[in-house]
């Protein structure tokens, strides 16, 4: 059973529908006593890092998620939900994240190192470079994912990046360490590649695959 953390900052409908299409049992909740009963958690997120952390801190969900992850239980963050897994972000001024993974969230530069102008948000379909193998990814599949974000994870550990996308900078796109995972793009909006990631994650949660 997947528990989707409902803290008011996500497009829960599209994630829920994707899980239904995959025939994966799930529930939405903001309560730790309910979320405790899940086999794996999903942390969605759309909006600003600072607002999201404020809500997670105020509701006690931040502590709950940290304890959950420290107990070795599966967690997957999506989009802003992935960024929240890191140490801090410069979005709307500095704020601390959940600190489950090493790295800082920074604004995507408006130009490449060669001085070529870049549009921000990074919006649209970008191809993934497979960096480290992971049970989440099937490298033979269609490599395109749908991104829409203005901030990216910088200064992270290379070992904890499974796939990245080039957009002036190298954008960590699928990440993870031990039992904590994230995707910068929306898997539920990323056609076959995205649906496969969700399926692989839920299989991992239910013990059908090992990391």
């Amino acid at each position: 059973m997947i528990g989707v953390i409902d803290y008011g900052m996500g497009n829960l409908y599209s994630v829920s529908k994707a899980l239904e299409r995959l025939d994966v049992p799930y529930f939405l909740s903001a309560r730790r006593d309910e979320l405790m009963k899940a086999d794996g958690l999903l942390l969605p997120g759309v909006g600003s890092f600072k607002d999201a952390m404020l809500i997670l801190d105020e509701t006690g969900l931040a502590d709950f998620i940290r304890e959950w992850a420290e107990q070795g239980k599966p967690l997957l963050g999506i989009c802003l939900g992935m960024q929240l897994l890191y140490e801090n972000s410069e979005e709307n001024g500095y704020s601390e994240g959940l600190r489950l993974l090493k790295g800082s969230v920074k604004k995507i530069p408006y130009q490449t190192e060669q001085g070529e102008a870049l549009k921000v948000p990074h919006m649209g379909w970008n191809s993934l470079n497979f960096v480290n193998s992971s049970f989440l990814l099937d490298e033979s599949a269609d490599p395109y994912a749908y991104f829409v974000h203005s901030y990216f994870v910088d200064e992270t550990e290379r070992d904890a990046v499974f796939a990245s996308a080039d957009y002036g900078v190298s954008v960590p796109a699928v990440v993870g360490k031990k039992n904590v995972f994230g995707t910068q793009f929306h898997p539920e909006k990323s056609s076959s590649l995205g649906m496969r990631i969700l399926k692989n994650y839920t299989n991992y949660v239910t013990g059908k695959v090992n990391s």
Binding site: S14, G47, M123, Y144, H186, E188
Partner: protein, 252 residues
């Protein structure tokens, strides 16, 4: 590398796709979900639904259409038409749309963009602009109310204002080109694309695959939208993408 997007646009009235969609092999050519799935299977990168319902009931039906489309589709889609308030945005986004597009309401009250971006994030808020060349102005003028009312805004000024307020994308329709099938207005698209830091979707005038290539190379657009040429099967999303790929444009 990021790819250029091809976006079919569907007009929806009272829950049905209208404006002559001529598809064989579909059970029901007016069903938004069936058409959305068809375009998805052809390789459309995103979809835009434009609600042209005039009635309150029609608008309510649109929310149901959005949730059905969201349940069936694993690609993003935008909903525009009749979005006048933060509450309208909430209803559409909560039903499963990825972005909402605002046009007239944003010109009349630019704070709508600020509020929407603050609440849902800039990536959710598309500003649609209808523009027409104006000799007196020596540039393109912004029109509202479906192209019926001229405003005092010059197009790049309004685009910059919208982006400063939090628009994450500009959907730019050339009123001169719309329906002409003579190609996108590359000068207009280029002017706006260079004026703003967010992606620009070119719209109005698509007649063939070459026009899409021009929109990306000459018009510097990040995405291109078309309706009738796809609906009437004059070309297909797959065909346009094949041509672009041959010409060295990166597409999915």
């Amino acid at each position: 590398m990021i790819t250029k997007r091809i976006i079919p646009c569907l007009d929806v009235k009272d829950g049905r796709v209208v404006k002559g969609v001529q598809f064989l092999g579909l059970r029901d050519a007016g069903d938004p979900v069936e058409l959305a799935a068809f375009y998805d299977s052809e390789g459309a990168d995103e979809l835009v639904f434009l609600d042209i319902s005039a009635s309150h009931e029609g608008r309510k039906t649109m929310v149901d259409v959005v949730s059905e489309v969201a349940a069936a589709l694993a690609i993003p889609f935008t909903v525009g038409g009749g979005i006048n308030t933060l509450d309208d945005m909430k209803k559409i986004l909560r039903a499963g749309a990825d972005k909402v597009s605002v046009n007239t309401a944003a010109v009349l009250r630019p704070e709508l963009i600020t509020e929407g971006a603050g609440f849902f994030g800039t990536q959710c808020i598309v500003t649609a602009i209808d523009a027409k060349y104006d000799d007196e102005l020596g540039s393109w003028r912004v029109y509202t109310h479906g192209g019926r009312k001229p405003t005092s805004w010059e197009v790049t000024d309004w685009a910059k204002e919208a982006v400063a307020r939090g628009a994450g994308e500009i959907l730019l329709t050339s009123m001169d080109g719309d329906g002409s099938k003579a190609g996108f207005d590359n000068e207009l698209n280029c002017a706006v694309s260079e004026a703003v830091s967010v992606p620009v979707i070119a719209s109005g005038g698509a007649g063939n695959s070459q026009h899409f290539l021009d929109a990306f190379q000459k018009g510097k657009a990040d995405a291109a939208l078309a309706a009738s040429i796809f609906h009437y099967k004059e070309t297909s999303v797959a065909e346009v993408k094949r041509f672009l790929r041959e010409q060295g444009v990166r597409v999915r």
